[in-house]
């Protein structure tokens, strides 16, 4: 029995009948919860791709009004502090080639560096910048351009999913001399923990369930989510990214809430193991170690970032160019004064709560980091209509 790519997509993406059945299940569990007295269920996701699927496929409008899907910290571009982009701009204007993911190319800084407030502006001013799809592509490009380019820095943004793509070439000595990594890697579970406690601290309606990130969990496994689930006494389901995956995960969460179960279950079984990808984790922790890292607009979260270990400092952009990381004592929130990204990222506010949303801040001219990446919550809502309006329209049409 062989499975093709098309068949896989057909099962989980283009299967209206399956989606409908799951939708009915969700309605049933919701009715049950309402009968039990829970008439508001808040489910938080921790992955920009889940938010993308949610909005792109209109998942919010398929759910009963009692169920609220909230986006948590799930976009590594959105939480990369301005300082790192400023350093990359500075280097690019000094003739060091900067490799950057397309997603972060327009990421705005809070202060301009030599007239540029993003790498795209730096490029217009003559900065050396190359958009790449991966660290591997940067390695290839750097090799092919050796001679013309002497030194280059890869702006190493990402969560656990991306960390192995840096760790494998570094560990296996595949990185040519002159190419350095500026690691801005961040870890998801510490941020999830931070966001969940922020909701409680601010006295907001508590989160009742978690949709855990499927691809992050491919690397770290389901186990770290089990810990968080038990700490907050709420269920977690590690979900895949097709629309039916997400619906099924929501149904599973509601069922667990009905049964008053905490802990983690995996919906994305076709790729996620409970203990994760051990070889990937080995690579990661052979090359990097955890440190207390800064998150844009938020500040420092313990053990939430990855830095290169001493034995790999030959590849370290901080060491080579004397770049200083932001410091806790002198940390200032690095957002435009009206930008609500910090709260959007933590699931405390929605993009529509920001006065700049789709007015001064648009995907073409982003003012805050959540409007830049394809998976930034503001950018997703701006492109596909969010949920607020769609919800209202659905209500007025009597679809609920």
């Amino acid at each position: 029995m062989t499975l093709s790519l098309q068949q896989l997509i057909k099962i989980f993406r283009d299967n209206i009948e399956l989606a409908n059945r799951v939708k009915n299940l969700i309605e049933k569990y919701t009715e049950k919860l309402v009968r039990k007295g829970l008439d508001r269920v808040k489910i938080m996701n921790f992955c920009g791709t889940h938010e993308w699927t949610t909005v792109h496929y209109g998942i919010r409008s398929l759910l009963p009004p009692e169920i609220e899907l909230v986006a948590g910290p799930g976009c590594p571009v959105c939480i990369t502090p301005s300082k790192y982009i400023e350093e990359a701009i500075r280097l690019s204007l000094e003739g060091v080639l900067i490799y950057v993911f397309g997603d972060a190319y327009k990421l705005p800084t809070v202060t301009k560096v030599n007239g540029a407030a993003s790498l795209s502006e730096a490029k217009a001013l003559g900065g050396e910048i190359e958009i790449v799809y991966s660290f591997l592509d940067a390695i290839k490009h750097f090799r092919e351009n050796k001679g013309r380019v002497n030194e280059a820095v890869f702006l190493g943004i990402g969560f656990e999913t991306t960390a192995p793509s840096y760790a494998v070439p570094i560990f296996n000595n595949m990185v040519p001399e002159g190419l350095y990594l500026l690691s801005v890697l961040r870890l998801t579970p510490p941020a999830a923990d931070y966001a969940l406690s922020a909701v409680i601290e601010r006295g907001l309606e508590p989160v009742n369930g978690i949709v855990a990130p499927g691809h992050v969990s491919t690397i770290i496994g389901a186990a770290p989510w089990d810990e968080i689930s038990r700490k907050y006494k709420i269920p977690t389901v590690v979900s895949g990214f097709e629309p039916t995956d997400l619906l099924l995960s929501i149904a599973m969460i509601l069922k667990m809430i009905c049964e008053e179960k905490a802990g983690v279950e995996v919906e994305y079984k076709r790729i996620v193991r409970y203990t994760g990808n051990q070889q990937a984790l080995e690579y990661m922790y052979n090359v990097f170690y955890k440190h207390e890292a800064s998150w844009r607009g938020i500040g420092f979260i313990p053990d939430s970032g990855l830095k290169l270990r001493d034995e790999h400092l030959g590849y370290d952009a901080y060491t080579r160019f004397g770049i200083k990381e932001p410091e806790k004592d002198s940390w200032v929130d690095d957002l435009h004064p009206s930008c609500k990204c910090a709260e959007v990222v933590l699931g405390l506010k929605k993009p529509v709560d920001c006065s700049l949303f789709l007015k001064a801040c648009t995907p073409e001219r982003p003012m805050g980091p959540c409007m830049v990446s394809l998976e930034g919550t503001c950018a997703v809502w701006a492109r596909f209509g969010g949920g607020g309006k769609a919800d209202e329209i659905a209500k007025s049409l009597g679809l609920w």
Binding site: S4, I11, F159, T161, S165, H215, G240, R270, N277, A280
Partner: protein, 100 residues
């Protein structure tokens, strides 16, 4: 940014592999030593982050089946009848979507 794209492995060579993204062929990095030609994998940022296990796909459908069964029984359907209903559904899904 944690976007992952399914692909089929064509050949492997140490920590490198050639994969097919449904027509476009690309060189990617390999983390796991057990990845081999023919495997269906997920690629993120030029790296194979994991292998899609076909049996586990069946388990996902089973998850769905379990939920459906519970809800049918709750609706008052006889457990055997509910089981039959669920099996038929999964067969329909697999039959329609899979060879063999």
């Amino acid at each position: 940014m944690c976007w992952g794209v399914p692909a089929k492995v064509l050949e492997t060579d140490g920590v490198m592999a050639k994969v097919d993204f449904g027509g476009s062929i690309k060189d990617v990095l390999v983390i796991n030593t057990d990845i081999k030609p023919g495997d269906l994998v997920i690629v993120h940022a030029g790296t194979i982050i994991g292998k899609i296990e076909e049996e586990e796909l069946d388990n996902t459908l089973k998850l769905y089946g379990d939920l459906l069964r519970d809800s049918l029984i709750e609706d008052g359907m006889d457990p055997d009848e509910a089981e039959k209903n669920v099996r038929e559904w999964i067969r329909y899904l697999l039959g329609e979507n899979r060879d063999g």
